[in-house]
């Protein structure tokens, strides 16, 4: 809960409702294309929530809206009951200190070593001694199996390693909310298994709330408590992974079972294949 105390806003713990994040009637478009058209969604405290959907449904955009990297054109996003659109920049930065975000490509700072990347938030926001920072960073790197890579530069890491370093950085401030943007893309099976386990373990051990954007149905189903399937700018279906897997809706079945035919067309809208090959479409 965000309360004003002596002129400045502070975050208070306690009196917590079940929903940590509430999204109400969210509308957001890019140009003439509507990404969200009246989206309503709740993220429950302490759960791992999966946001799924076909490519281009705005999953990453939703994460950027939740963290106010983007501002909704209509509707509101409430975190702990506070409309984040009303926050000043300093209040927003205070809120973001409660977040950890794993970007799709890692987004490591390329001029800093792996160690310094993970230490970066600590150096910026705390006055901890170098010795303590070293302990914390090595602990986090050990958790993702990359303690031995502390001295390496981001350019020397593979895609999977960069993602794991970014995960260590995302959790170094012990956040309340961890957001994962496509954490499983491009990982080898071993790294994927490690990340999948880490998502669950960190959520339970640290008592945090996790939001995972992914279209890897199998992997995300093993760790998510609740899943939302987005389509057409709205929530098409929600429930536990098991409920989604057994749902009767054509869209849900197509997505969960990876079928080519269904409500979501594999082919982007185009003129007739035959006419295009014969050049008749230009006439």
């Amino acid at each position: 809960m965000l309360n004003r105390d002596g002129g400045s806003w502070i975050w208070l713990v306690g009196d917590e409702s079940e929903n940590l994040i509430e999204i109400r009637d969210l509308k957001y478009s890019r140009g003439s294309r509507a990404i969200f058209d009246g989206l309503n969604l709740e993220i429950k405290r302490g759960e791992v929530t999966a946001i799924m959907g076909p490519s281009g449904t705005g999953k990453t955009t939703l994460l950027r809206l939740i963290t106010r990297q983007l501002i909704p054109q209509h509707g509101a996003i409430y975190i702990d009951g506070v409309d984040i659109a009303t926050l000043s920049q300093s209040e927003l930065y205070k809120l973001r200190q409660r977040f950890g975000m794993l970007f799709q490509n890692g987004a490591l700072l390329t001029d800093l070593s792996v160690f310094e990347n993970v230490a970066f938030p600590l150096r910026e926001h705390t006055n901890l001694s170098n010795r303590l920072i070293r302990h914390i960073v090595l602990t986090k790197l050990h958790a993702v199996g990359l303690r031995g890579a502390a001295a390496m530069m981001p350019a020397e890491l593979s895609g999977g390693m960069a993602r794991r370093v970014a995960l260590a950085r995302a959790m170094v401030m012990d956040p309340d909310i961890l957001l994962y943007d496509e954490p499983f893309v491009g990982l080898d099976p071993i790294s994927m298994g490690v990340i999948v386990r880490l998502v669950r373990q960190m959520n339970d051990a640290l008592g945090i709330t996790s939001i995972v954007v992914s279209h890897d149905v199998e992997e995300i189903s093993t760790v998510a408590d609740r899943s939302f399937l987005l389509s057409g700018g709205k929530v098409a279906a929600s429930g536990s992974p098991e409920e989604l897997r057994t749902a009767s809706s054509d869209l849900v079945r197509q997505f969960m079972h990876g079928m080519a035919d269904g409500p979501v067309a594999f082919h982007y809208q185009a003129p007739s294949y035959e006419e295009q090959l014969l050049g008749r479409d230009a006439e």
Binding site: T67, Q89, K94, R96, Q104, L109, T110, F120, P121, E124
Partner: protein, 257 residues
């Protein structure tokens, strides 16, 4: 006709919006600059190295040949009036007041300005700036201000080096090649180049430092985050800086004459 008017109106609105955003951006940089100068001095020194020291070779080579060619032109024209001793003065005037600041600023845009734009643009394209925002770290003071200040500090130093090396080039051509008396060469410079001439060069170098660095970081920060976007922003940095420098050069010269 209606469509044309609508297009002109749209472009005018866009221009005013961009110009306003540019001014606000400049004010944001200025707002954080004093604090960063003291709290991130080490980072700024590194940026002075990146923008200044890394541009030294190109500035020195160009300065040497610009000075040499100025002396060549001056000697060939002055010798018609038996005024060869003025070779050094002509080269010094041109270097200190005009070519030193202008050439250095354009070289700076080509070497350091493009490096700044592409570095910041790539940071944006790879979500590094967004990641900083998400870690509650404002990228303006953390990333942009040190680079901006690095450029601002480097430019007057580079101009001084360009002009000094240029005079060395003029000396080689005037004294060593055309046998102008070395005493006359330097004495004429001492007699006729006034402190106000040097001041003009210093003013220009400081202004050009602000202009070139500001355009470079602005273009980087507003890059369309794609490979093509970074390429376009880098090109725009060179073109816009060169044009702006020449316009400012005219305005400053007109104001100081």
């Amino acid at each position: 006709m209606k469509r044309l008017l609508r297009e002109i109106y749209g472009n005018a609105v866009e221009f005013v919006r961009t110009f306003g955003a540019f001014q606000l951006f400049f004010l944001r940089l200025l707002r954080y600059s004093p604090r960063m100068l003291f709290t991130r001095f080490g980072v700024i020194v590194r940026q002075v190295y990146n923008a200044g020291a890394m541009s030294l070779v190109i500035v020195m080579v160009c300065g040497l040949f610009v000075g040499a060619v100025l002396a060549l032109q001056a000697y060939s024209n002055m010798s018609r009036f038996n005024a060869e001793d003025w070779t050094g003065v002509a080269a010094a005037f041109a270097l200190v007041k005009e070519l030193g600041p202008v050439m250095t600023a354009i070289l700076f845009a080509g070497r350091a300005g493009t490096a700044l734009t592409s570095e910041i643009g790539l940071m944006k394209a790879t979500d590094q700036l967004s990641a900083m925002e998400m870690m509650a770290v404002n990228p303006v003071p953390r990333v942009l201000v040190p680079r901006f200040l690095g450029g601002v500090i480097s430019m007057p130093l580079l101009v001084a080096i360009f002009s000094a090396i240029g005079m060395f080039g003029a000396h080689i051509v005037g004294v060593e090649l055309f046998q102008v008396d070395v005493g006359s060469f330097w004495q004429q410079i001492q007699l006729h180049v006034e402190p106000s001439d040097v001041r003009e060069g210093i003013i220009k170098s400081v202004v050009f430092g602000f202009v070139a660095s500001l355009i470079a970081v602005w273009e980087g920060y507003n890059t369309v985050p794609t490979a093509e976007g970074v390429g376009r922003a880098t090109t725009r940095t060179v073109v816009i800086t060169a044009i702006t420098i020449l316009i400012f050069d005219f305005m400053i010269t007109a104001a100081l004459i």
